[in-house]
Symmetry: C2
Subunit: 189 residues, 2 copies
DNA sequence: CTCTTGTCGAACACCAGTGTACGAGTTACG
DNA sequence: CGTAACTCGTACACTGGTGTTCGACAAGAG
């Protein structure tokens, strides 16, 4: 792109803003541009110099989060018994969901509807492929659409985050609970 | 209380505001007091005459919604095979969740944290009792806390509402999908 | 019929956030 | 070193909501 020639300090500031925004939005999904700028050690004006609006900043942070998440998930071994593979995938996914939970909320009310869904396409496809394989091998149920099963997984994980916040379960219990629940839910009838 | 003597038109207005608020908040969880007052055919000042703040209005609407919901759920037959009873309970609960979904969002960011949870105590207890009975009879799993199973049910239902909004499933498919999923998830290992 | 209770609209103060404008100062890059 | 790119703080305009105040007016209760 034409922006190849960015002065070094500008690049540094962009990076600082991005990481500060990730932190702030994780702490409070409604964090203001002032807070973020301050956390980045930068003037609010400078922030607007790099990101035309709060929404575009949130978008950038979210895109980055998805990208690093994808990198993590890409290293999960999805071969072997689909049930074991699912357990491994849940373990990794859960870490990410737990970590980026608040960021998701921020994205959901700062970004246009559908945008969040759009950016989730890759991780969702990964889950879908695994489920399809499990169905073909007869270890996962086929009486419900794959997309529904994916959404169940998604919602159970986010529900677990809520249970932690409510203090009804601990962070360590979450993954096994989720795994046990989903393996039951996905088993053939 | 001392408010036994409310003029007739005042009572009418309170009722009008309450139903209008329910409608508006269902359409848009962030509906303003102006919108609600207008929808109720009442001046904004009148609204503040009856409800000291937007939050207290939302609370009142939410309390009312829970109460009518409880009335519906109270008529569900929970005897017999716990799995069949659960299916019936899901059917009824789903109607309510689908209907009051947006209202819940409104409550969640207008009410102090924990308040929503607090008001959900009764419906949650009902589910919990049924699950406990099913566990005692050996048809539901006992390797996970009942409260976790309740939260799974809750989240799967709200997830279904999201899937409808995303256009991936229809309103009629939801209940059977939810039932099939939860019966699988709750079955003993 | 009277008087208390309630209603109305318009106006106001307030707040918190977003995004812009300016001008002076600073920093990297060649 | 000079210049273009960048940053800074302050200040401003704007938006959109909340909650209050006022005085005039209407309606129900006894």
């Amino acid at each position: 792109m034409a922006v190849t020639t960015r002065r070094a300090d500008a690049q540094r500031n962009i990076a600082a803003i991005l990481t500060a925004a990730a932190e702030c939005l994780t702490r409070d999904p409604a964090a203001s541009t002032s807070e973020i700028a301050k956390a980045a050690g930068v003037g609010r004006v400078t922030l607007y110099g790099h990101f035309p609006s709060r929404a575009e900043l949130v978008d950038a942070v979210f895109v980055q989060a998805i990208a690093t998440g994808e990198q993590t998930l890409g290293q999960v071994d999805l071969t072997g018994d689909p049930r074991d593979a699912l357990a491994r995938l849940i373990e990794s996914s859960w870490q990410l969901v737990d970590q980026y939970r608040a960021l998701l909320l921020a994205a959901q009310d700062a970004l246009p509807p559908g945008r969040v869904q759009e950016l989730h396409a890759d991780p969702m496809a990964r889950v879908e492929r695994l489920l399809e394989r499990g169905r073909a091998e007869g270890v996962f149920r086929t009486d419900l659409p794959t997309s529904w099963l994916v959404s169940v997984m998604h919602n159970v994980m986010h529900g677990a985050a809520g249970e932690i916040q409510a203090g009804r379960i601990t962070s360590e219990q979450a993954a096994p609970y989720i795994t046990a629940t989903l393996l039951g839910a996905f088993a053939p009838a």
